[in-house]
């Protein structure tokens, strides 16, 4: 199944962007501050309606889906998450099952807690978690829904090395099972290391789209970020050792 944008424009934020994302791939959206990365992700999630152009999931326009059907298909982690009430980690993760009324979801919640290494913290109130632990709990909330598409805005930003590697492994596992993973990433090294495909945005325009080595070439980085930088690693390879 594909998640595609066609000629999507949004006043002063996105200019005629077209791209077709495939399930089974990890796609990174990169670009400097204000490039429109989070805006594009919100359009892909169906949370922002473009002024012109269409967003389609499979053959159907995303806007034609009922909110609950869309929520089951597309999981979304916002960049600046908030948690209004001091719920426990387990309760927070269980909120991910809201698009599935009637289903117990106990198994999916357990899997999400385990994937984010939260078993020991499940009863702990959110107010007594560190920033990284909270970020893991919020990611587990998205995983608990088991959507076909995982859209996350800077999901690795607050994580330590081990948990960052663990989450990347989870993204890869989800992609291996056919899910589409779309990540907004600020850190180009992370995009190089973990993505199958990189989309580079600049000033609301899609300026490069392809395998990481091509989309984040020296020339593109120089043009978009105005920095002379070169990738020293091996494109596409995992730079981090993953836990067994």
């Amino acid at each position: 199944m594909t998640l595609a944008v066609e000629n999507v424009s949004l006043a002063q934020r996105l200019a005629s962007i077209s791209a077709s994302l495939r399930g089974g791939e990890v796609t990174a959206i990169c670009g400097p501050n204000g490039a429109g990365k989070s805006t594009l992700l919100a359009c892909l999630a169906g949370l922002l309606v473009p002024d012109s152009g269409t967003v389609t999931l499979g053959a159907a326009p995303l806007s034609s889906l009922a909110p609950q059907a869309r929520a089951r298909a597309i999981g979304y982690l916002p960049q600046t998450p908030e948690i209004a009430w001091d719920v426990s980690v387990e309760t927070l993760v269980s909120l991910g099952r809201l698009p599935w009324p009637g289903a117990s979801g106990a198994e999916e919640i357990e899997q999400a807690l385990a994937a984010m290494d939260l078993d020991a913290l499940r009863q702990r109130p959110i107010s007594r978690l560190s920033g990284g632990e909270r970020a893991r709990a919020l990611m587990a909330r998205v995983l608990a829904c088991q959507p076909q598409w995982l859209l996350a805005d800077e999901p690795l930003a607050n994580l330590d090395l081990a948990h960052s590697a663990r989450l990347v492994a989870e993204f890869r596992a989800q992609a291996a099972q056919g899910a589409g993973v779309v990540l907004v990433l600020h850190d180009l090294a992370q995009a190089m290391n973990h993505a199958d495909r990189v989309m580079v945005l600049d000033g609301g325009k899609l300026v490069a789209d392809g395998p990481p080595g091509e989309a984040l070439s020296e020339a593109v980085i120089a043009r978009v970020w105005g920095v002379k930088a070169r990738w020293l690693g091996e494109p596409g390879a995992m730079a981090l050792a993953l836990p067994a």
Binding site: A42, A45, L47, A66, P67, Q68, A69, R70, A71, R72, I74, G75, Y76, L77, P78, P81, E82, I83, A84, W85, D86, V87, S88, T91, L92, L95, G96, L98, P99, P101, S127, L138, R141, C145
Partner: protein, 319 residues
Amino acid sequence: MNRPVPLLLLGLLIALPLSLLAGRVWINPFDPHTANAAVILLQLRLPRAVLALCVGAGLGGAGAAMQGYLRNPLADPGLFGIAPGAALGAVLSLWLGAGSVWALPTFALIGAGGAMALLALIAGRDGGVALFTLAGMMIASLAGALMSLAISLSPTPFALSEIVTWLMGALADRSWRDVAIAAPLTLIGLAFLAATGRSLDALTLGEVAARSLGVDPRRLQWLMIAGVGLTVGAGVAVAGIIGFVGLMVPHLVRPFTDRRPGSILLPSALAGGLLLLVADCLCRIMPLAGGELRLGIALSLLGAPFFLALLLRMRKGLV
């Protein structure tokens, strides 16, 4: 997880019959010779107790829903302007000296309905919470100003005294007619509020994440207008302004739940009913020269220190 529900039901089961016995005339259930016992029980105390349960449940449920919707522990049903709208309707009925016993509740319900309609009209198409709340505050402020105007231009000292007394809120001298007005509207309103549970749970994560979880903000807004409007409007129509119940009750039950907004709706409704039943009973038996303590005053006297304690707890980051 609704652990407090059985306890609250038990509390109601105990408090309801006891409240019927207490008052200026104490009724001994083992002495069948108390004068006018049947009339006092069936025509005075039972409707009053049922009304306390209705109004309290409506205010408690509406308060819990408001706090969940606004993601703010200080939110109160009055914030949407529906209670002031209903109060304005009632004040106008007293000001005009409308004679029928149905006039005051009818005017109050029209006031509540007007506030609901205005709220729906002003609120944005995208269902955003901030604009909606500001619209509610504007309506509350406008209704408050118009009430003050009505009071200042009061046609007779008698009307003035009636308005001021009514605004204090009470359940004294209510009948089955008031129950017939409040009970069905409150129940329908509570049903609307119950339907908001899952959406309010999702709002724990903020508006954007809630939408990503399938919440339709417009539908939620309509449910909130209808639910809060009916419960609060019906409550004000029969009992006047009774403050602080909607603010206090969710805080009292929250620690006994998993703290999801949806999980405190039912316990808040039950606890609101119980609180008002007990408070009204205490007002009735409290020895006070010149009549009984007005319920609205009693709850405000209780509510103000509670509010202060809440603010202090918030300062320490405990809420």
